[in-house]
């Protein structure tokens, strides 16, 4: 990728310097609330109650984290349990959606199945359907299926996501038919072709969808709010709210909890960023 350095702003002009300065200031501005979150999470109580308030922390402490784990321990459900719930439901949803959507997109684009072209057009229209609007019938379906107050209610409905199907489709359609045909001539069946050709060639789409799906599921508060009734099965976003409702005295713990919740998402993204950004870049197969 190094060779592909953009060259438009090659010469250093005052305008260019100004542009960089503005962009850096904007970047800092964008990051400020996150930085504030981090510093608040490490503030001791007396600094939280300081007047006038101060942005940065003077004597960082882990007190908030220990109080978060400690105070919640005294209740019935420990914080780690919520963490576990979030991890399990998110990992299952992500794995399922990647598999279901990639297989669906491949069969719609390349297997010449009767009706699948029309079907994939319907899916594109479904992009316009906002998820919250369909929550009522989904709730009824989930409850009829006996999945209420069960991890499954946070997992199964998250598999067939039109957007991921659509993204996969964009990628799969770029795989030349000749490649798939020659795989077939070499004796690969439908599943083997999918596993050996389609999946590797859509790897960057997969990374992108992993990131998107992880964010969506990890941060989802709507699902656990309506499907999950027992406290022990709730996920992190719900818990954050209840900690934050404790007022200023709990601010440190709330910030610590938010920090713990947000950090994995950011880490996963940083880890995947170059692949996400290169997603559409392996243009070798573009007809």
């Amino acid at each position: 990728m190094r060779k592909r350095k953009r060259k438009y702003f090659r010469r250093v002009t005052p305008g260019l310097v100004l542009l960089y300065i503005v962009m850096i200031l904007l970047a800092v501005f964008m990051a400020l609330p996150l930085i504030y979150l981090v510093v608040t999470a490490f503030k001791p109580l007396d600094e939280l109650l300081l007047f006038p308030p101060r942005f940065f922390v003077k004597k960082p402490t882990l007190q908030n984290f220990s109080s978060l784990l400690g105070t919640l321990d005294s209740k019935v459900v420990p914080f780690t349990r919520y963490l576990f719930n979030s991890v399990v439901t998110t990992v299952c949803s992500v794995a399922g959606t990647v598999l279901v959507c990639s297989m669906g997109a491949y069969s719609a684009q390349k297997l010449h199945l009767r009706g699948m072209k029309a079907f994939s057009r319907i899916v594109v229209y479904a992009l316009m359907y906002s998820a919250p609007a369909s929550q009522i019938p989904i709730y009824l379906i989930v409850s009829k299926a006996g999945m209420l107050d069960n991890y499954l209610s946070l997992i199964i409905p998250k598999f067939a996501i039109p957007m991921y199907f659509f993204l996969y489709q964009q990628f799969v359609s770029q795989i030349p038919d000749e490649l798939l045909d020659s795989a077939k001539l070499d004796g690969c069946g439908t599943f083997a072709t999918f596993r050996r050709i389609v999946l590797p060639l859509t790897k960057s789409a997969t990374s992108t969808i992993i990131v998107f799906s992880f964010i969506a599921n990890w941060n989802d508060s709507f699902g656990p709010m309506i499907y999950i009734t027992s406290q022990a099965k709730k996920t992190l976003p719900i818990v954050l709210r209840s900690i934050a409702d404790g007022g200023i005295a709990r601010m440190g713990a709330a910030a610590a909890a938010t920090f713990l919740t947000t950090a994995p998402v950011i880490l996963i993204y940083v880890f995947m960023q170059s692949r996400v950004l290169q997603t559409m870049e392996y243009s070798g197969i573009k007809g």
């Binding site: 953009r6 542009l19 962009m23 970047a27 964008m30 996150l34 504030y36 979150l37 939280l48 007047f51 006038p52 308030p53 942005f55 297989m103 669906g104 491949y106 069969s107 297997l111 010449h112 199945l113 009767r114 699948m116 079907f119 229209y125 992009l127 316009m128 906002s130 609007a133 369909s134 929550q135 019938p137 709730y139 009824l140 379906i141 598999f159 067939a160 039109p162 957007m163 964009q170 941060n219 508060s221 709507f222 709010m225 976003p237 709210r241 934050a244 200023i248 601010m251 910030a255 938010t258 919740t261 947000t262 940083v270 996400v276 950004l277 290169q278 997603t279 559409m280 870049e281 243009s283």
Partner: protein, 318 residues
């Protein structure tokens, strides 16, 4: 190799292997069966969790249903009630629109503009991370920070700074005064608007072949803005279409962040949105018929606007 769906089309493509007629039962071989098996999970789940809910919510919207009592068909009563008798719904529609017309287009434009600039800078990935990071957070989780920053008591940093700089003489109740709530929510949601659309744009922009710009120079393109207008924008049209739909759907579906900032219900219903109204009737009062009518209106709205966006950003004729 010739499967039923391809019949008729493959024959016209030059250079293809000549077609041998197999007959339906011969072509309906293992391949096809496997193909349908492969498609099945998505098709079934999509029908169960997307198609059926749309139809079901239309049916429900014509009924009075509260789970306990049997469903009763009441025709268009729910819609009539919504528009003639439910002031709160009208308020929710107004709030949703006042949010959507600002946050939707602004987010859409900003995510293209910044992707376009960042794509040409050094340290592209670092900039991208800084701009995208806010979208990685959940609105509800970060509301902890926002509430603290915009707090109206003496711990609020924003009020403190504005007072010290002389912009304010006394603290503003950002999250409690109906005058400011919606503005604050729009501001905060712009902060998270460099989301999926931003990434899609970055990738799309990076994928424009270099020679297109060089060819453009030969064809007489003088400056950056001509380049943007004649080369860049047409090249990312598919991405723009996708992003505009996402921005529209997201803006009309606003709810999460309003709960985080203003609570539910919000002071004087200043942040009451359509999805909020639906949520209230569906999951707090269990009047599912009435709530479904709201869902269905939302669906029609999304779909209608989506069609318009598809017309605007269509690249089919190219």
């Amino acid at each position: 190799m010739n499967t039923p769906g391809a019949t008729g089309r493959t024959g016209t493509v030059p250079g293809r292997v000549p077609k041998i007629r197999h007959g339906f039962f011969n072509t309906f071989r293992k391949d096809t069966a496997e193909g349908y098996l492969m498609a099945a999970p998505f098709v079934i789940l999509f029908i169960v969790f997307v198609v059926v809910p749309v139809i079901w919510s239309l049916v429900l919207s014509l009924t009075s249903y509260n789970i306990i009592q049997p469903m009763k068909f009441i025709g268009l009563e729910n819609f009539k009630e919504l528009f003639t008798n439910d002031d709160l719904f009208i308020k929710a529609v107004k709030n949703t629109f006042s949010y959507a017309v600002v946050a939707g287009p602004l987010g859409f434009i900003a995510s293209f503009l910044f992707a376009w600039i960042i794509n040409q800078l050094k340290f592209r990935n670092s900039f991208a991370l800084a701009f995208y990071a806010p979208s990685l957070t959940s609105g509800l989780a970060m509301s902890v920070v926002w509430l603290y920053l915009f707090s109206s008591d003496r711990y609020g940093l924003i009020n403190d700074i504005l007072i010290q700089l002389g912009f304010l003489s006394e603290p503003v109740q950002w999250t409690k005064d109906p005058k400011y709530i919606m503005k604050l929510i729009i501001f905060i949601s712009l902060w998270t608007s460099m989301g999926t659309g931003f990434l899609t744009n970055l990738a799309g922009l990076n994928n424009i072949p270099k020679d297109m710009y060089e060819a453009g120079k030969i064809d007489g393109i003088r400056n950056k803005f001509q380049e943007l207008w004649y080369i860049t924008l047409p090249s990312v049209k598919p991405q723009l279409l996708f992003n505009s739909i996402m921005a529209m759907v997201g803006a009309l579906g606003v709810f999460d962040i309003t709960v985080g900032i203003a609570g539910f219900p919000s002071p004087d219903y200043a942040a009451h949105t359509m999805v909020g109204h639906m949520y209230d009737y569906a999951f707090l009062r269990f009047e599912l018929g009435y709530a479904s009518a709201i869902s269905f209106l939302l669906f029609v709205l999304n779909f209608g606007l989506g069609r318009i966006l598809m017309k605007i950003f269509s690249s089919k004729d190219e």
